[in-house]
Symmetry: C2
Subunit: 391 residues, 2 copies
């Protein structure tokens, strides 16, 4: 395999055959370099991470699960530094190429996994999603991607960031492969029955760029064909920006707790904006965390109320398609903040979300997301598969 899109970590070479005749036989996969592979250092997207951590002796649960199901591991992929980023630009390892829009970022932090799948270098790939790190690259690279119900999967051997929000997700180009992999990862058959009620989050569509919202309308119509006429709701009565503020309080404060012993001991090298996030995380006052925890309770209550088991909600995965590569921080920072407004519910409430490809705006992909009840991950995958069948 030639790494045509700078998706794989340079200097590592990992290839492990899957068990013979499993349900994923014939599929290849890559693992974001946050997942342990026995005998290989977990790089974490930062040149100083591996020195702080022993070379793992066991495969991460997610890696082992795919190997046991017959998929072949073909390599480890570039990630934003220790998963702290949403755009996919890594100043040390380089920025993977978004093959459908080479002048755009791939999205992050699961940038290399998304880029590798999008370029056809493998069939599926493992990512992580704390604040949007599977959903955003799914949207930007035109892939199916899932952020599963928080707490559902075993995260052993996955580098943590903010444990109350961390999840393991995965990508695929087509819905059939996505369903095959999802059945294995979820340990559950993907149902054929679809949910009976569709909600459309008017605040989220209103928050997206108008042309992005418009580009997603045909996909919403296809969803309505499958499920029924949508009901308009507010996802976030308190404000998407208020939810984002809560997540931007809890997640960086928790990330600082995760990384501070390493930072103190090794004074690691970071891109400026990554270090800045850690510094700001270290400075969040307890009073702010207290408020954010209360808001998290409100968000959980809201999503429980909106999403009984037979209901799904749709919204834009991101407010726009992928920004250009190499923009200055003063331009990127507000874009990142807007993305967070459409992603914060994931880390706050832990409901499952699938991003479905199928729309483009401004010459690049944008995904439509569907959310369901906690535990309804397989139902969302079923909807994604049905969407492809009516396409």
């Amino acid at each position: 395999m030639r790494d045509t899109v700078n998706a794989f970590v340079v200097g590592t070479s990992v290839r492990i055959a899957g068990k013979p005749s499993g349900p994923l036989s014939g599929l290849s996969f890559a693992a974001k370099d946050l997942f342990d592979v026995a005998g290989h250092p977990t790089g974490g997207g930062n040149p100083d991470w591996a020195a702080f951590n022993p070379v793992p002796t066991r495969n991460a649960w997610a890696v082992q699960t795919l190997l046991d199901a017959g998929a072949e591991l073909i390599g480890k992929t570039i990630t934003d530094e220790v998963s702290l980023g949403i755009l996919g630009e890594n100043e040390f390892d380089g920025t993977p190429i978004n093959s459908a829009a080479p002048d755009r970022v791939p999205g992050g932090s699961s940038s290399g996994s998304a880029a590798a799948v999008a370029a056809g270098l493998c069939d599926t790939a493992l990512g992580t999603d704390t604040g949007g790190s599977v959903r955003v690259p799914s949207s930007f690279c035109g892939l199916h991607g899932i952020r599963p119900t928080h707490g559902r999967l075993d995260l052993t051997g996955m580098l943590p960031q903010a444990p109350t929000s961390d999840t393991t997700g995965w990508f695929a180009r087509d819905a059939a492969t996505f369903a095959r992999v999802s059945a294995v990862m979820l340990g559950e058959t993907i149902p054929t029955a679809l949910p009976s009620k569709l909600l459309i989050a008017t605040d989220a569509f209103g928050f997206a760029d108008p042309d992005a919202a418009e580009a997603l309308r045909p996909m919403v119509r296809r969803l309505a064909q499958l499920i029924g006429a949508p009901s308009e709701v507010l996802l976030a009565p308190q404000g998407l920006s208020v939810w984002a503020r809560a997540q931007r309080t809890l997640q960086p404060a928790e990330a600082w707790q995760t990384f501070k012993a390493w930072v103190d001991r090794d004074n690691p090298r970071f891109a400026f904006n990554v270090a800045r996030g850690l510094v700001l995380g270290s400075m969040i006052p307890e009073s702010e965390r207290g408020w954010a925890s209360l808001m998290r309770q409100e968000v959980r209550g809201r999503l429980r109320h909106l999403l009984p088991p037979d209901t799904i909600l749709c919204m834009p995965t991101t407010p726009f398609s992928a920004p250009k590569r190499g923009l200055p921080l003063a331009t990127l920072d507000p874009l990142r903040d807007r993305i967070t407004c459409l992603c914060a519910h994931g880390g706050l409430a832990g409901h499952p979300q699938v991003s479905i490809p199928g729309a483009t705006v401004d010459g690049a992909s944008i995904g439509l997301s569907i959310l369901g009840a906690r535990g309804a991950d397989a139902t969302l995958v079923a909807v994604a598969r049905a969407m492809e069948q009516v396409a």
Copy 2:
């Protein structure tokens, strides 16, 4: 020359002969990698600095001055990243070795220049001093070093940090060489007459570790033999820590102004503590800067009052000898803050200061500093030379 102490920037090779038969003929020098050398990128101690800046086409004033006087440039030396550091540990280029105490840091940010001179790899070396970057490595490596009167020398071609505090300084092992180089750099004959009045800063000696203060006593006695019995004074009636607070407000805020366009455009890689300093610098409120500017006025008034032309003041250059290499940030940060308490007056008031070697504590060097009136740089060099003669 073999770089036995990791003092020189790897990958650069610069050697320029001095003009024949100048006053510094036969001497070799190195330049901190903040000084421009025509045709060679100025690395600035950070892997992303050179990309933001064109390769210089002219030598820095200080480099040209030494070449014109006959000294030979033999290389460019490691510095703390864009001069932001006081201990000399660079996570990209490595930490130069303090040859007299190899398990200790060399001090910074002019770490490589000090290490090269201390190891005998060259006779003198250029450094910069904004908040202590010549004085601290002079103390830790057992060298003569000068922070000249602020505004006296031409800083053309020297990478700035905080222009209201920035100076060009230099190091030498012995007082005779130090005087030769100083006469050229200052453009002034080093006098034979010595000042007539000696002050001893009791607050500064009291702030140093007791064993460090004790180790410096014999040097103070030698000074007294040369100049007369010292008068005890307070250097900082408002508090050395209050002066340090003012400097730690003005200097990082100004450094952020210097570097923010680069940071915004290139999102450079930094060691965590360097990025942290920039982030905190960016957050200093105008009200704090206002207070610090008033305190700077007080400091200037105090030093003008204490130091008429015929008077010098002595104090420990640093509160202790060099800390061990590789300490965690939680240990280093308070040490750095204590060093700043004995260095802040330099950036705040701009008076000249010479650090004189000759004492050791805890197995490593510590310097005695003398300060004089603005413009009395040559007098301080004369005192350093006389000290060696009575040693």
